[in-house]
Symmetry: C2
């Protein structure tokens, strides 16, 4: 672990911090003023609580199980956990929508296992499917014509369903699964945890040169680094899974509707409803859609109808907000979320710009068909590099009570860390505060 | 396939059929009269629709994908699908409860991945856990003290999580998984579909004689035959998973609280909410609970919060109905469901009693601590045997447009079939009608 530095404050750091705090407070006053809900303080406390509690979770990557956590809000001793991408940043928007996004489910509803058995995906709720198609049309980020929709318990289940569906029947060896590094840190463990004889993790797509069939995962924009991606291997017999969890207007310019064989989306990152555990796949090939459905049948006998119905309501509210946008008071979900992300990235860049210890990726602006103008990408995660002599960026930041995820989990150097930008305003502000005070080793 | 018989009506058959229809109509008048909901006809149509649609599903076991289905209600040509245990029979009770079982979820609620990260099962909603403990106390069917609760996307996911958790680390060979036949038809495929190197299906527990560790599944009351079960193998190094999906007062006398190392329950069969996909495990060993939680994290990153909250509401309504029972108009869920099952079994036994073609298992009555009297088991499935020369009971009934599941899927003779008793009144009555007209080959 790196030495804990003696923190030195300079006037310049105070200025940057003060600017960041101001923007954050103005934003909070503006939005909280419009929320009339009685439970807002309760919920803020809960969100705060989550931050503290969540240090225990994901111990396999952060190894923090035994660390202590003192609840000193605002103090340097408070642990800020930005290890995982918990999308609580969007809660404020959903509080503003009121009844428009509320769902009521009577006790007698949705009791059957079945939704529509004339559909290949027999547990897919028609209302949810309808809203998926509508939202893709409104946003312009995916072709849905000629696709089968398969719903999953989050896109994680659909990722596993895709591996199952794309693995050749009766093969003597498991098929290789590859992804260009830096790749999503859970891909290797999700692929290998059951020691399946159907598929196995084969590492970085950039150095993959084997013959025969393989599965390549293409995450675009990429988790962790936010870059737009295409297939890397470019050999014959490649089966592609496109994970487009972050291909939404708040994160990246929507250049054209995605048009792949098998594409995964999730409400967790699009609308921020991670607790719903709802994802969907757009699948061109009928047999692949059937096998994915079979996987989910054997895995969980379908997907929660309650969450599908709620997701339908939420997606509908997003589409409505886009179609009915007419004033600042009535802004669309994507305008709201784009503004939040833009503010966060602006503040972050200012802090990092004044530091010699850290650096960020540069992104090229591109035309966004949704917002109808040229925009810069503003990813859900910061892919931060520790410059100079800091070899283990995760440990370095951990010494400052900031929990991040090391580059080594993404198949690259520990000089990099992934940091969530989707957390609460409180944690984000604290994070900037902390970062601006770190001047040297 | 068996020859299609020339159906012969006798006075005796008309009498049995008429009796069955009368009981069914009286029941329906009684309950429908108390339902004030506007959507009741819509829902009945939907339920009916499901019956017709569902013939396409589960094609792997019923191979009915290409069969035609004429919608002639009441006609002999109408296909009655009782292949799977879709618990729509309980819908009537839930309609009566009105607002007591309704849940309202605003758009901003339950957005985070996390529920309580101080808990081993960090995605377990506290309210759901509380109601699980309460219901087991009210019913007296399970010890919850000293247990960790792990929530799953149905008990299917928990079954897989249990296999993962109980498999030894770093073993050179997969651990054997066994269950005494007749066993639940999905156990073999669920165990083997990913060709896991951790565990593999090893068939009938009765004939299992290998040394070393193994996992034994104990389903009690058993699916398909309804009998109370204990572990069969009785060797050292056995790891037991108790699947108690049907250990509820409507199906079997509650003799004592179950007290095992790892026990699975599900709302699908207890309250009838299969569409929720919520199950729970009671786990004695902390490390096993941790590994099960890890499985669910890698499989689906948690379990729908919406469904957990709804399940909490439903379980609470069941406990309330037991604690507040004071009149016929205010009967408990278990009194209602016990009565429905008792009526169905009575009618079924009458029909089968008059037939020389079919036979049923006999069950010993036992004292039920919940109802405080001696009662007979009345399983969720009929385990029907075709007598005489009928070797393939599934095909024989299929020729009469009744879809059932053959004994061969449960590891035994095709002279047996499993038939769901949890379907709608309409289908049950039609089924009895059809059965009473089948006199000979």
């Amino acid at each position: 672990m790196a030495k804990i530095p003696n923190t030195v404050f300079s006037l310049r750091h105070f200025l940057v911090l003060s600017l960041a705090l101001n923007v954050s407070f103005i934003l909070r006053m503006f939005y909280d003023g419009e929320v009339g809900h009685n439970n807002s303080s309760l919920n803020r406390a809960k969100a705060n609580n989550n931050v503290h509690k969540s240090r225990v979770v994901m111990s396999s990557t952060s190894s923090l199980k035994n660390s202590t956590c003192k609840d000193l809000t605002g103090s340097k001793n408070r642990i800020i956990n930005l290890d995982h991408g918990d999308p609580t940043v969007y809660e404020r928007f959903w509080r503003q929508t009121g009844d428009k996004s509320t769902i009521i489910i009577p006790g007698w509803q949705s009791m059957s296992y079945f939704s529509d058995v004339s559909n290949i995906c027999w547990f897919l709720e028609a209302e949810f499917a309808k809203e998926v198609v509508r939202l893709h049309r409104v946003v312009g980020n995916a072709v849905t014509e000629g696709r089968h929709i398969v719903v999953g318990t989050g896109s994680s289940q659909l990722f596993l369903a895709a591996l199952y569906a794309l693995s050749p029947n009766h093969a003597s060896q498991p098929i290789n699964v590859v992804c260009a590094s830096p790749y999503y840190s859970s891909y290797p463990s999700m692929t290998d945890y059951l020691k399946s004889g159907l598929y196995k993790w084969a590492g970085d797509a950039d150095s993959y040169e084997k013959d025969g069939p393989y599965i390549e995962l293409v995450t675009s924009p990429n988790n962790p680094d936010g870059h737009v991606r295409k297939s890397k291997v470019n050999r014959s017999q490649g089966l592609l899974v496109h994970d487009l969890a972050y291909y939404w207007p708040q994160y990246t310019p929507i250049s054209s509707p995605s048009d792949h064989d098998l594409t995964l989306f999730t409400v967790s990152k699009s609308t921020g409803h991670a607790g719903m555990r709802i994802g969907w796949a757009l699948v061109k090939d009928k047999e692949v859609a059937k096998k994915m459905t079979k996987f989910i049948e054997l895995n969980t006998i379908g997907v929660s109808k309650d969450s599908q119905l709620r997701a339908a309501k939420i997606l509908s509210a997003v589409s409505d907000s886009c179609e009915q946008e007419n004033s600042k008071e009535n802004e669309s979900f994507f305008k709201f979320s784009h503004k939040v992300m833009a503010n966060r990235w602006k503040q972050l860049r200012e802090v990092v710009h004044h530091s010699e210890l850290f650096s960020l990726s540069q992104f090229s602006p591109a035309f966004c068909n949704f917002f109808n103008r040229v925009l810069e990408p503003q990813p859900a995660f910061v892919w931060l590099k520790c410059e100079g002599n800091v070899e283990d960026c995760e440990s370095f930041l951990r010494a400052h009570n900031i929990i991040t995820r090391s580059g080594k989990h993404f198949g690259v150097s520990p000089k990099y860390v992934r940091i969530s930008l989707l957390d609460t305003d409180e944690n984000f502000t604290q994070f900037l505060d902390r970062l601006s005070t770190i001047q040297s080793l």
